[in-house]
Symmetry: C2
Subunit: 424 residues, 2 copies
Amino acid sequence: MAETRTTTTEEIVTGICRAAREASARMGRAGTAEKNAALAAMAGGLRERAEWLKEENRRDLEAAASKGLSGAMLDRLTLTDARIEQMAAGIEEVVALPDPVGEVEKMWRRPNDLWVGKMRIPLGVIGIIYESRPNVTADAAALCIKSGNAVILRGGSEAIFSNTAIARILRDAMLHADLPADAVSVIERTDREAIDRMLAAEEYIDLIIPRGGEGLIRSVAEKSRIPVIKHYKGVCHIYVDEGADTGQAVAICVNAKVQRPGVCNAMETLLVHEKAAGEFLPAVSAPLREKGVELRGCPRTLSLVPWAKPASAEDWGTEYLDLILAVRVVPSMDEAILHIRRHGSLHTEAILTKDHARAMRFLRDVDSSLVLVNASTRFNDGFQLGLGAEIGISTTKIHAFGPMGLTELTTTKFIAFGDGQVRT
Amino acid sequence: MAETRTTTTEEIVTGICRAAREASARMGRAGTAEKNAALAAMAGGLRERAEWLKEENRRDLEAAASKGLSGAMLDRLTLTDARIEQMAAGIEEVVALPDPVGEVEKMWRRPNDLWVGKMRIPLGVIGIIYESRPNVTADAAALCIKSGNAVILRGGSEAIFSNTAIARILRDAMLHADLPADAVSVIERTDREAIDRMLAAEEYIDLIIPRGGEGLIRSVAEKSRIPVIKHYKGVCHIYVDEGADTGQAVAICVNAKVQRPGVCNAMETLLVHEKAAGEFLPAVSAPLREKGVELRGCPRTLSLVPWAKPASAEDWGTEYLDLILAVRVVPSMDEAILHIRRHGSLHTEAILTKDHARAMRFLRDVDSSLVLVNASTRFNDGFQLGLGAEIGISTTKIHAFGPMGLTELTTTKFIAFGDGQVRT
């Protein structure tokens, strides 16, 4: 990897892909203890080489500053001692998670006494294409390694020195644990061709996960010949039903909107049954206003909350990621479900109700990656749902829908034990 | 659909896709009884309108004959009374299968008393692109409907009249059961553009399944913006271990090769441990010769089976789909596993052995969609493994690996029951 100057992007990417495929066979056989040893060495390496890491990170920061990147961008790029410690601690959390590889959930006996089951196996080689934050390099690699995969990482050009330095530490840790370094690779080329070559390497890579803005994800999905799991935006809705508990509904809605407005599982649109609106909207608008939330309402909302601004057609289906909330009064739950189908993003939806039948119907009829009854949308997260660390929240229905933890980085093969069975 | 002459391919395909997406919402809510009523009406309709179906089929046959299609192709295209009855009976088998939609395998309680589970839901809209045999229209539609999906079918141009007629019967049956006819559509345009439009309709279609030759599958996978589950070839291997039971191994190998040589789960390469070869190869070659199987062997094989032909490098990894078998003597199980990794197609592999430790290691280290111990590769089939009817055998690791039955045409969403939980 030191001689990249004399070789083409195609040669580099193909070389990395081929080495990753080779390493994946060994990774698939690696025991839990071996993989955990590598992860522990990764965490240790990040802590021990924190000074060097910060030096390499400074090279990125200087380049970014000279390019005039915004303060927010520079902040996301910066590796501090606290952030390096966070990366190391994050890897140690993955050590503590159960290893899904080799799990056989059940076996069944066929009439001919063939004993059949499904065994969980790694996917093979996973390609991650991401932007800015260098911590993704460590987080994603840890999950891929624990689930027995090899991983090829292609971060943004603005973090190239940081990502390469982190990868070097992770690769050293793999060798330290007698596992192949090539199971963790960073593509050091920052040209677009490197991504294109990766997306065409279908014989070497089993799954592509793009992490970043919608533009990046769309362009990856369009070009890739390899299956892509998309993590699109979250336009999350809460529907407050007729007769909902007002106090509980206010607490949940305030939490879903303001506890962390910049994330994908924050509420973006509030739908309120017309029979609940008269009591609920004034009750919820007071604390929202206090927290600085701007409301954009339908005409009925405006009549109940005079300080709200009128919503335009573009407000339905918008992911604000900010202290803004679209509010609409609906004549029925069916209308709320239709609104969600039309404007939602399949991410997270909640119903707040006391009525059991309507709760169950909403749960059944809304097909988002998480549907909640009487709880905040903010729970759509691997840790909160009990899966442990996650690589993202998939809004693709295929393979993994919702938070992607270790299990979702694996697949199953069928196994069968016989004693001479043949087909007749 | 009667006015296709005045509209463009783009308009037709987009219209069908949009209608299917609309219908999929209703299908997702359909109960098992409703779906079964539609399937029963489909089977009844095929039987009642068998004469008309054969008339429409004759139009395809006449066109095919005038184009000079081969006898084998014409045979695959022909709908006889027996084949129509087979289609109807096949649909009735799907009626009898359990409905996966709504299944919640387990739920768990979080420390905050949020009760979380995963519920099985339909994928939405499934696109099937296939060649020749018109029965695929009925088989695939039945599986998609039972699993709560809408389906868009695009068969080969040579079967256009047959496919359109079958679709009309299936759509009438949907209406008969008060379900939307648009949940089953055949794209009647036979130009390539129709496929291209379908593969770009990512906002309407959730999954594409191509069924046919390798060329069709590759071209679909390359062009599609929608996830594709590939059903590639089966280059299936059997490894006969040192000390295997010769009689049992001979019976299994003969079954795997000759019981139905033209299918994807037939054995194509036999690997024999060098310590087993002296006894086993002469023993297995006699019945294989009797059945008309041509052996293509490595030099060691040729020394033990004088009538075998020498294998060339291309024989390893070839899917003959014929009475031909490649045979190689290997020095160890590791060499056999390496051979499979290099030349296999991830489809089906078996080890024949008495040794428990080696059986378990082979099972773990070979990542094919089905790995068997002491049984024929011919068991890689939805019915044989106990899943019921299947839409094909996936060699894509993502989402579904191996036989794809009803469950594999669904996905899961997370559900959560709360009583006011907020995130802190």
